[in-house]
């Protein structure tokens, strides 16, 4: 049962345009959502997060939007640059009781930004 879904395996965008990566989830108990970026032969690196009590978080060219009623979040990259070409993972966290909670990842979307 996949709790975090990234339904688009790949996305191609022209340099300077907007990239929109989507993520859907099924568990309404998730309290934080995160985006990671991964280059080949490297570990994933943290990009941006959003709390479930927010609907938007912005950091430079990266903005994450959360629609709780639709159980949907999206990552917007504006403007897109060739260096943004990577695999992007959506992740969600659920805490229960006093536990730390672990991250559940989607399958990833490969973004290609063409010059």
């Amino acid at each position: 049962d996949q709790q975090v879904k990234q339904n688009s395996p790949s996305l191609s965008v022209q340099e300077g345009r907007i990239s929109i990566l989507n993520c859907d989830y099924t568990n309404s108990m998730f309290d934080y959502f995160l985006w990671y970026k991964k280059y080949p032969a490297e570990g994933p690196t943290f990009l941006i997060s959003i709390s479930s009590i927010k609907d938007k978080n912005e950091d430079g060219r990266f903005t994450v939007f959360l629609n709780k009623s639709a159980k949907h979040l999206s990552l917007h990259i504006v403007p897109s640059q060739p260096g943004d070409s990577a695999v992007y993972f959506c992740a969600a966290r659920r805490t229960h009781g006093g536990s730390q909670g672990n991250l559940i990842f989607g399958k990833g979307t490969k973004l290609s930004v063409k010059p």
Binding site: L34, A41, G43, F46, Q100, N102, L103, F105, K107
Partner: protein, 114 residues
């Protein structure tokens, strides 16, 4: 860069042999994790640790064991490797506490089981 070192970075082994992957951190973080990454599956949690000698299973723990005898080291052991365990393994650490629980990942260990 966060101080996480994974070793070995690459390993080729044969079915049935034992394999141990090591994760070493210099951040003194409480939480450590082992994930595997496979095409079409994303990142899946194998085991995690919330302190010395405190570990728990993730979603794909069958065939794997872990140990954490020191804060800085988290070992992942495949007692008898199988071809289905061919994968890229990532160690991650986090400080814990409230907030988003941002994980910092190592560079990965690529394991091939023939």
């Amino acid at each position: 860069d966060a101080g996480i070192t994974q070793s070995p970075r690459h390993k080729v082994t044969e079915t049935g042999t034992p394999v141990t992957l090591r994760c070493h951190q210099t951040e003194n973080h409480r939480y450590m994790y082992w994930y595997r990454q496979d095409p079409g599956h994303g990142l899946r949690l194998i085991h995690y640790s919330y302190g010395v000698k405190d570990t728990d299973k993730g979603e794909v723990s069958d065939g794997y064991s872990v140990s954490r005898s020191k804060t800085e080291d988290f070992l992942l052991t495949l007692e008898s490797a199988t071809s289905s365990q061919t994968s890229v393994y990532f160690c991650a650490i986090s400080e814990g506490g409230t907030g988003a629980n941002v994980l910092t990942f190592g560079a990965g260990s690529r394991l091939t089981v023939l």
